[in-house]
């Protein structure tokens, strides 16, 4: 390459990808409403989640796994999982998960790994994609590690995020 390049930016382009033509992209919707189920696996995750449950989501259900580290996944049926709606009323996993397109597990600590496994198992049997979101911060260290380890076996995508604002950013991006 020498210093004598022609001014390439002045060359013509075909019409198809100009700004003028981009205006003619059809305005009809190209997807139907998607339905997500978001599960907070511990207290901090629940607080972060409650901060956004009021937003105008499409078909999202927000659910909290009630603290219980002793859940034996093999011995726990979907309906037996201790689960609550944002207002504190009990929820039934078998009912909640019906019709879901995506399951998001949120953890900040690695607690309730057994419950995570039950949720992921039920999702798997229904061919629902499971994503894991580990909340970490600069000092989280081992906790973040535990959160990731608890979700890794079940999630087909895992995110380690440093701030809770990523939760609404992700749900918005996924049209939750």
């Amino acid at each position: 390459m020498s210093g004598s390049h022609r001014p390439t930016l002045l060359s013509n382009c075909t019409l198809a990808t100009t700004a003028a033509e981009a205006r003619f992209r059809v305005e009809y919707p190209n997807s139907r409403t998607r339905s997500s189920r978001i599960f907070a696996l511990d207290q901090r995750a629940a607080e972060a989640m409650y901060a956004i449950t009021e937003d105008p989501w499409q078909g999202a259900h927000f659910l909290t796994v009630l603290a219980n580290d002793d859940i034996e996944p093999e011995a726990t049926e979907a309906s037996q999982l201790p689960l609550a709606h944002p207002d504190g009323t009990p929820a039934d996993l078998a009912v909640e998960i019906e019709g879901a397109d995506v399951v998001v597990l949120i953890s900040s600590s690695g607690r309730n790994a057994g419950a995570a496994e039950v949720v992921a198992r039920e999702a798997y049997h229904r061919s629902i994609m499971t994503a894991g979101l580990a909340l970490s911060d600069l000092n989280a260290g081992e906790k973040a590690e535990a959160a990731v380890n608890a979700m890794r076996p079940f999630a087909s995508v895992l995110v380690v995020a440093r701030d809770e604002e990523f939760i609404p950013a992700m749900l918005n991006a996924l049209r939750a």
Partner: protein, 428 residues
């Protein structure tokens, strides 16, 4: 999906825009050093972040980058005479030094001091590696000089090219963190491209088309890990770093050189795709360098005498439907670089993200947008300087490794993900 306002926030980089302000906090690649090959050579027109500039190298080897147009009556200084330590406008002879300072106005008496009052906006232009870098922001926040490994290894270990891409910078960059397209769009190249073929890792790539992604936020940006099955329950990991605002590095294959990109906005509808290729511990071979020049790997062929790719939208990127049908290429387009560019340009000059339907495997892209948005608003609202300026953030390497199943990829590869002079790299 992104709301219209957010899409505009992230895609517009002209002066006065928030994203433009963000880009102006970094040293960015402006020209290849080879574009200004010698003292007093021809000046080069450069458009960056929506500003039309002229670059030149004066009689003393100093580089300058400044407003393209003469302060007198607005003639393009591309026509200028580059002589005697300055660039002289051919219309009435006004002359400027590399700092944009006017040093001569022939019509005025020398003693009048008039020329001191004339100064074109100018930016520093420094050579590091094969690249001339500029910082288009204020002096008060000038970051430390860039230390990217591809630009700081010995000259025989590195090769850099650039190509004009006819679309907004963000959709081009998003291709660099979109690891899930590789198994489809580029599937043909792993066995044939001289800069990829033969690596053991390729077998894992081709055998497991459903990788699991793990996206990890770091101080300077992100690590995007793609996990595939390897032997005996172990995992083959490919780890791509993204550093703010627009640097990515593809994981290496075998002993091939490793490569990656910088995306730099020209204006809102055009960007430069910079492509570097280097080996941290050995010289590139003659054959490798030749393959890069010939447009293999992530490089491309050009319309002669330009930085416009030979395959471009005027010729439908030389679409080969037969090759597509045979499966030689997945999209019918030849070469990794043009496979990416053709599809990214097809999205339109500025991708309309209100219409997209992202899925979980797009989380790398979702996170990168989130980080950019946070950094842009923190800079705009609080004056917070963004990540990625710190040289420590830039000392990063991509990694390909086979790990035991219970290993966290970031922890297991922490050292391998950090660049250091002469350090052996981790590749499969």
């Amino acid at each position: 999906m992104l709301r219209k306002e957010v899409n505009e926030l992230l895609t517009q980089t002209d002066p006065g825009t928030p994203m433009g302000a963000l880009f102006r906090q970094y040293w960015i690649p402006a020209l290849l050093a080879s574009e200004l090959p010698e003292d007093d050579c021809a000046p080069v027109r450069v458009k960056l972040l929506g500003e039309r500039l002229i670059a030149f190298r004066d009689s003393d080897g100093r580089y300058g980058l400044m407003d393209e147009f003469c302060a007198h009556r607005g003639v393009s200084l591309w026509f200028g005479r580059n002589e005697e330590s300055g660039l002289r406008c051919p219309y009435h002879g006004w002359k400027y030094d590399v700092n944009g300072q006017c040093t001569e106005v022939p019509s005025e008496p020398d003693a009048s001091g008039f020329c001191e009052k004339i100064k074109l906006r100018a930016y520093p232009l420094i050579k590091i590696g094969d690249v001339l870098w500029t910082h288009m922001g204020g002096k008060e926040n000038r970051p430390p000089e860039p230390v990217w490994e591809f630009a700081t290894v010995a000259p025989e270990q590195t090769f850099t090219s650039k190509r004009w891409q006819e679309c907004n910078w963000l959709q081009a960059m998003e291709g660099g963190i979109d690891s899930s397209h590789v198994s489809f769009l580029h599937s043909g190249g792993l066995n044939t491209d001289p800069l990829f073929r033969g690596a053991k890792g390729n077998q894992y790539n081709l055998a497991d088309k459903k990788p699991v992604f793990e996206v990890t936020e770091t101080e300077g940006g992100l690590f995007i890990g793609a996990r595939r099955n390897a032997e005996e329950g172990r995992h083959y990991w490919r780890i791509t770093p993204w550093i703010m605002p627009s640097f990515t590095m593809v994981p290496p294959r075998g002993d091939h050189p490793q490569h990656g990109h910088f995306w730099v906005p020209i204006d809102d509808e055009n960007c430069w795709a910079w492509s570097y290729d280097y080996h941290p511990t050995r010289a590139l071979t003659g054959a490798e360098r030749q393959a890069m020049r010939d447009g293999h790997g992530i490089h491309n062929e050009y319309v002669p005498g330009t930085f416009r790719p030979l395959q471009n939208k005027d010729n439908d990127y030389m679409m080969d439907r037969e090759a597509q049908k045979r499966g030689d290429t997945f999209s019918g387009i030849k070469g990794i670089a043009m496979q990416d560019a053709s599809l990214q340009e097809s999205m339109g000059p500025i991708c309309d993200r209100t219409k997209e339907n992202l899925v979980s495997t797009d989380n790398g892209i979702i996170m990168a947008r989130h980080r950019l948005r946070k950094a842009v608003t923190a800079l705009r609202d609080k004056g917070t300087l963004p990540p990625g300026r710190n040289p420590e953030h830039q000392k990063v390497r991509s990694v390909a490794a086979v790990l035991e199943a219970d290993k966290n990829y970031v922890e297991a590869c922490r050292d391998a993900l950090t660049a250091a002079p002469g350090k052996q790299r981790t590749s499969v």
